[in-house]
Symmetry: C2
Subunit: 164 residues, 2 copies
């Protein structure tokens, strides 16, 4: 059985126990979190979220990419979120390669030219959080009264550590 | 107390019970899922994921944006994922506005010009899933032997329904 098929079986069990019913579309706690896609992070457990509490935006690195900005604009402008969180983490894959590394692998394996893609790797974990907060702060489409806090999640302990 | 501060208190409780220790960086079940950021979706519960199982990429709409493609390339090329899932959902905010609607709101509230941003709204839920699968299928940087399945999540019942 494929893993997708196994996940659909798990979903059937989830449905059997599902008692939430529908909830309002705007997040109940008015928070939008940008978090790395890493498999060792379950944002709902990490942050103590109940279904319906917060928007969770995830990508490779938890970077405030143009697409994360798109999502934050929709989240805050149309669905009323009033606090933003950025979460990167220890042992992140994004510090293990450069754009040139990944482009070379793609050229070799796929014969493709990814020279136009910035994969947004980084060297310094705390600085990457600061850079992403600065990207939010520089966005004219976002309400700059919205507080933004940034954290590094420790995959060994489950703890969030704030980046100042 | 801010909601962020309340989430940090929840994180302290999470840490107290955290017994996973670190796990390998590559997702144990080799799956990458693209899912909407909607607050009413907890992907780990919806799919029966244990910490470390799968990459979860999330944005407004669960769209296969350029940034989701960036994340899928990293996920599959560097971290070995071998199955992709795309999940949109019922009662999605992305069907409630047009690019022009949101641009007008931003011009009025912020005085900003978002004419260069495609917010990726859509009209037809099933078609948006098909379009996003097609975007993955058209990407020369992704291994086209990777299976991709698309679903609509029902926020009233918790169920995933496949889009064919």
């Amino acid at each position: 059985m494929s893993e997708t098929a196994a996940m659909l079986e798990a979903n059937a069990a989830y449905v059997a126990d599902f008692s939430e019913g529908n909830k309002p579309m705007p997040p109940a706690r008015g928070v939008a979190a940008v978090v790395c896609m890493d498999a060792r992070i379950h944002p709902s457990e990490m942050l103590g979220l109940t279904l319906g509490d917060a928007h969770v935006i995830r990508n490779a690195g938890g970077r405030v990419s143009d697409d994360a900005i798109r999502s934050l604009i929709i989240s805050s402008t149309l669905l009323g979120t009033k606090e933003f969180i950025v979460v990167h983490h220890t042992d992140c894959g994004m510090v293990t390669f450069s754009n040139d590394d990944l482009r070379s692998i793609l050229a070799e394996r796929r014969g493709s030219d990814a020279s136009d893609i910035d994969f947004l790797p980084f060297g310094d974990l705390a600085q990457s959080v600061r850079d992403d907060i600065a990207t939010i702060r520089a966005c004219e489409h976002l309400d700059q009264s919205i507080p933004v806090r940034g954290f590094i999640y420790d995959v060994d302990t489950g703890a969030l550590h704030e980046v100042n």
